[in-house]
């Protein structure tokens, strides 16, 4: 089932001789259970594309259709972007970005509270997700006392809390050593296979993309399928 379709997406910063084309005619389709990697060097446009997919940065032109709903078509289509994000998108960050004053469990409970899930049912779901990430025993710990790998697993549990249709992962292994990085990537693959989610991972580390369904390379704002 198609989750995301991008057609002719472009983003330009500045005008005239200061104009910078960050994204140029991007076409991308992602379906449920797919694991997609976006590779590319710094300044290639990865982050700009991620910001556009996160519905934070308005493109200059093109179309974004997400879960059957047109989000952008030569302009925002009047949808509540924050609502789409909290109900349908999960985010995993390079530096985990757990809320430092909330315990691991509370960090998972937070996105649930945003979609109106509270009480015992929410607690059960949070614990189930932490258990799925094999970190249930650290549920009551604050992020500061968790290792980098543990924090990233909590962050993944948080991203899954809202049953996201699309999970956007921004350099999820950048702050981890190779072994922990591979473990996180294995978890993302597991999520893509076992949940009704699609996962898009932005990374610059080619060692981490083994087993991905699609790998794209970004260069100078252009997105191209990577030749294996």
């Amino acid at each position: 089932m198609e989750i995301l379709r991008i057609a002719g997406l472009a983003k330009t910063f500045g005008t005239g001789h200061l104009e910078v084309r960050a994204l140029a005619d991007i076409h991308l389709t992602v379906s449920t259970n797919e694991l997609v990697a976006l590779l590319g060097p710094s300044g290639s446009g990865k982050t700009t594309l991620l910001l556009s997919l996160s519905l934070i940065l308005e493109p200059t032109s093109g179309t974004i259709v997400f879960d059957g709903q047109t989000i952008y078509n030569q302009g925002w289509a009047g949808v509540d972007m924050r609502r789409v994000r909290r109900e349908k998108i999960g985010f995993i960050f390079q530096s985990h970005n757990l809320i430092p004053f909330l315990s691991a469990k509370q960090n998972v409970l937070f996105p649930l509270s945003l979609i109106g899930q509270t009480g015992a049912a929410a607690e059960r779901r949070a614990m189930a997700l932490l258990d799925y990430m094999e970190i249930a025993d650290r549920a009551d710990f604050l992020p500061a006392v968790l290792s980098g790998g543990e924090q990233q697993r909590v962050a993944i549990a948080r991203a899954l809390a809202n049953n996201a249709k699309l999970i956007l992962a921004d350099e999820p292994t950048a702050a981890l050593d190779t072994q922990r990085g591979r473990r996180v990537m294995a978890l993302l693959k597991k999520i893509a296979r076992e949940n009704q989610s699609a996962v898009i991972v932005v990374t610059h580390d080619v060692r981490m993309i083994e087993g991905f369904d699609h790998v794209y390379h970004m260069n100078d704002g252009h997105l191209q399928p990577r030749q294996s």
């Binding site: 910001l51 934070i56 924050r82 999960g90 985010f91 004053f101 937070f110 945003l114």
Partner: protein, 398 residues
């Protein structure tokens, strides 16, 4: 999920320190409120306690408390004969500093026509009012005396026969009630050297004018300073007498000023008490402003420390109200906790202040309302920062 409380739990030390600091400021604000009310109460206590129908004072003066007023004592007989006047009594009031119980005490003396003259103590806390013509006193317990205490004032020793709590001078000093002649004697009493010097001075002045020594000696007595002066005459009107008519009559025929108790209260409020009230208001305003500035800085710091978390919240779809609640709740929690500390502190320490602090629940409520408003204002800077934070900040390294 109460994010504000979770965050404050992680910053207990700073939270407690801020509550303590701002709480002390609120304590001072509440003390100022109490001081203001106490100042008004004390400033008007004597006027309200005496509460005659008319205060007769020197022409054009706002005496006897707001301004000096001096009248010859015998004027009271003229006032007594004015139509509509049932009772007219001389009244004298002044401040002194004397040694009592081995300590220097500042207090005010009221001289009235004991035992039944107007202006005397009305409600006794213990003992009785003045019964004898001389050498008895009624005092405020704040003077540090008890029933039966012996107090030396000038040439004589006075026995404390009663204690009254109703009378505090407008300066907050305890009041001592004496009979009129005793009060005049204490006021005008001078030591022998001073009397001798004044006599020599007068003699020199007379002889310098060509008056012979013998004639000058004979003139000394009639020229001596008159000590039979008073500050006001307190009047009780006959039943049915019109106060305005009686007052106009006294002003016209006796060339004096006649004021009602309401006039006296207004004179005090607009005169002697006005500058103090303005001063206290200024202090209160400044302290509240300082409290709000401190709260603003603390809330801003709290917010800035969470700015990346706020970006994450916005990125994962938290509506603005979640962010607003986080910042504003912290500000209000700080404000309410600090105010509660201020209330507890002032309610338990007000009795140790040298001046009376009259703490009124209505003042607490108004100050609390202003403090809450301040708390909201204090959160504005942090709110602005939080609401303008781009969710994109959550992406990327760092």
């Amino acid at each position: 999920m109460d994010l504000a409380v979770h965050d404050l739990k992680q910053h207990r030390g700073r939270f407690v320190a801020t509550v303590f600091g701002v709480g002390l400021l609120f304590t001072i604000v509440l003390a100022m409120n109490g001081l203001y009310r106490g100042n008004l109460q004390e400033g008007l206590a004597l006027i309200k306690s005496a509460n005659p129908d008319l205060w007769i004072v020197e022409r054009g003066r706002g005496g006897p408390f707001n301004e000096q007023s001096t009248l010859p004592e015998h004027y009271r007989y003229s006032v007594q004969t004015t139509p509509g006047v049932a009772q007219a009594n001389a009244f004298i009031y002044y401040s002194v500093e004397r040694q009592i119980g081995g300590q220097s005490r500042h207090f005010s003396i009221i001289g009235y026509e004991a035992p039944d003259g107007l202006g005397g103590p009305r409600t006794m806390l213990a003992g009785r009012g003045l019964g004898a013509a001389h050498y008895e006193m009624v005092a405020h317990p704040k003077l540090g005396v008890r029933i039966g205490s012996q107090v030396s004032l000038g040439l004589h020793t006075y026995t404390v026969v009663g204690l009254t709590k109703e009378s505090i001078s407008p300066d907050g000093d305890p009041i001592v009630y004496l009979s009129l002649p005793d009060a005049q004697e204490v006021l005008y009493q001078r030591d022998n050297q001073e009397i001798h010097s004044a006599r020599e001075r007068l003699l020199r002045n007379l002889t310098a004018q060509g008056i012979s020594g013998t004639q000058a000696e004979r003139l000394l007595e009639p020229l001596r300073a008159d000590t039979h002066t008073i500050n006001a005459i307190l009047v009780r009107l006959r039943t049915g007498a019109d106060r305005t008519t009686v007052a106009r009559g006294i002003e016209k025929w006796l060339y004096l000023s006649a004021l009602g108790t309401d006039d006296e209260v207004e004179l005090m409020l607009k005169g002697r008490l006005a500058s103090m009230s303005k001063q206290l208001m200024l202090f209160r305003t400044l302290l509240l402003l300082i409290s709000v500035v401190i709260l603003s800085l603390v809330v801003y710091t709290f917010t800035m420390e969470k700015i990346r978390s706020i970006a994450v919240m916005k990125l994962i779809g938290a509506p603005n109200r979640v962010v607003v609640r986080l910042v504003m709740e912290q500000s209000l929690l700080l404000t309410v906790s600090a105010f509660a500390m201020g209330i507890v502190l002032i309610e338990n320490t007000h009795q140790f202040f040298p001046r009376t602090l009259l703490l009124l629940p209505s003042d607490h409520m108004v100050t609390f309302g202003i403090a809450l408003l301040g708390g909201v204002l204090a959160s504005l800077l942090g709110l602005w920062q939080a609401l303008t934070t781009e969710p994109a900040m959550a992406l990327g390294g760092g």
